[in-house]
């Protein structure tokens, strides 16, 4: 379950020691996503979608309000517990964020290695996932040797390899052509059917129309529609 309770967020301005004077980029947002649910987060560019996602995947702390992720109130967690909670969240970034010096295999294996999983299990899971996303022949390729679509598939394989309870995707189809976007959405909806809670931010309303699901609409940092 993901729950926001009157959540506000400010970014510290460069060179300033405090948040005082910084504008609110998320303003009093309240919503709840049940376990196994699927939510689109929609809104225009700059509306605050990515900021809401960052709060969900624990890249930012709210300046006010409370957030529960997977049933855990995050405000009181230690840095170690926050890191352990992050391992239960898969994130697909718009810009992929693959490690350029690692192969596709090692990029996908990274979350499992961070979790100190046995190498035999890592090999089995990563090999299966690379096959699932159609990259088994390119497992030794580095990101700069892959196309944008292939990189995105590596990124989603990395996001789901740890069997996350929550999958968060920020404009996941933004760099993909229609075929690749369709394939990616099939992967995401398949994961959702397997019980993963999914939150996808997009400004592509055509995509939302093709995969109908409840949505949270953000405008000016506020939640203007939930349903």
């Amino acid at each position: 379950m993901v729950r926001f309770d009157d959540v506000w967020l400010k970014y510290r301005r460069a060179g300033e020691a405090t948040l005082a004077g910084s504008p609110d980029v998320v303003r009093g947002v309240t919503f709840e996503i049940p376990d196994g649910g699927f939510r689109w987060i929609i809104g225009a560019s700059g509306a605050g979608k990515t900021s809401v996602l960052k709060l969900i995947y624990l890249a930012e702390h709210p300046s006010r309000g409370h957030i529960d992720i997977l049933g855990t109130r995050v405000g009181k967690l230690s840095r170690r517990d926050l890191a352990l909670l992050r391992r239960r969240i898969g994130v697909v970034y718009q810009d992929f964020r693959l490690l350029p010096h690692l192969s596709a295999y090692d990029n996908v294996a990274l979350p499992m290695r961070l979790a100190r999983k046995p190498e035999a299990q890592i090999k089995a899971d990563v090999t299966e996932l690379l096959q699932w996303v159609g990259l088994s022949q390119k497992h030794q390729s580095r990101p700069d040797e892959l196309s944008g679509g292939e990189q995105q598939r590596v990124a989603i394989a990395r996001a789901v390899v740890g069997r996350p309870k929550l999958l968060v995707a920020d404009e996941p189809t933004g760099n993909l052509d229609d075929d690749q976007a369709e394939r990616l959405m099939l992967l995401i909806t398949a994961l959702n059917r397997l019980g993963t809670t999914v939150v996808v931010a997009t400004h592509n309303l055509g995509l939302v129309a093709r995969y109908p699901a409840p949505h949270l609409e953000i405008a000016g940092g506020k939640l203007v529609s939930d349903g």
């Binding site: 890191a83 992050r86 490690l99 961070l114």
Partner: protein, 295 residues
């Protein structure tokens, strides 16, 4: 992490030449400082033993009759010294020996100046008994006689040694701080170069301790390697210095080959360990501090 993969790309991000070189230079200086302290302590111990035991007696008008009226003043003083417990081997310096002693001060003309030079007696003073009583006895036998022990010089040598040791300790602290600063700068450079990678790994759930350990391992290896090189380069220099210092220490090896004290050989491997520890601690502190800037 079961498999040792360079997730952070530190092999290229943390300077693999500059850091070992600078830490090696610091280790080299640290070893020289430690060797200096040891040499100073050994020389001081030797000098304290030599000068502290020396007794010098000056007898003015040595050929004049003694106060007792029996024999001259020089013989009277020698008799008192010979009868005093704790004084051994009293010997009056010959005129030639006196000339040699005075030549540095008076030049080649020392003999022709016809100065009233007192007779000088050297002896060994064990320290037993009172120098004041001895002076009184000598003054009674030959008024105006002066007796000096080397204790004043010995205390000065002790003070000098202590100052050298304090200076060396300060040098070691400075060297350790500089080495720590070098590691911190290299770590900050590595963090800046790998900022995006660290953010990704942090977002995937890496613990601060995991990330800090990766940097610390790299810094420890580089610092330890640099210190080993520094220590290895210091050895021939130390042997050369030992050769130079041998005459002052009264240790002239029969074979002619210089040698180092066993304690210094024991210290040499400790320097790379200390450098590695400094590298590890500094990196852990630096990386964990930097990571606190992330959510």
């Amino acid at each position: 992490m079961a498999k040792r993969i360079d997730h952070l790309g530190l092999r290229s991000a943390m300077a693999d030449r500059l850091l070992p070189m600078l830490v090696g230079a610091m280790s080299f200086l640290a070893i020289l400082a430690i060797a200096g302290v040891m040499a100073a302590a050994a020389l001081a111990a030797q000098w304290r033993g030599d000068t502290g035991a020396a007794l010098t007696v000056q007898v003015p008008d040595a050929s004049q009759p003694a106060a007792s009226g029996i024999g001259n003043r020089l013989n009277a003083v020698l008799a008192v010294l010979g009868a005093t417990p704790g004084v051994t081997g009293p010997k009056a310096l010959s005129a030639a020996e006196l000339d040699t002693l005075l030549k540095p001060w008076l030049g080649e003309d020392a003999e022709s100046l016809a100065l009233p030079v007192p007779a000088v007696i050297t002896a060994t003073w064990s320290g037993a008994g009172s120098i004041t009583s001895l002076r009184a006895a000598l003054d009674e036998a030959a008024p105006g006689t002066l007796a000096e022990t080397g204790s004043r010089w010995a205390s000065r040598v002790a003070a000098l040694t202590s100052s050298l040791q304090d200076s060396a300790a300060a040098i070691l602290v400075i060297v350790a701080l500089v080495a720590s600063a070098v590691v911190a700068i290299a770590t900050h450079a590595g963090l800046a170069q790998r900022r995006d990678t660290i953010a990704i790994i942090h977002g995937l759930g890496a613990l601060d301790s995991d990330i800090a350990a990766r940097f610390a391992l790299r810094a420890t290896l580089l610092a330890g390697f640099g210190a080993i090189i520094g220590a290895a380069l210091a050895v021939p220099v130390l042997l050369w210095l030992a050769t130079l210092a041998a005459p002052f220490a009264g240790v002239l090896p029969q074979s002619g080959a210089p040698s180092l004290p066993p304690l210094l050989w024991a210290v040499l491997p400790a320097i790379p360990l200390a450098a590695a520890l400094i590298g590890w601690l500094t990196t852990q502190f630096t990386v964990r501090g930097w990571l606190r800037g992330l959510a």
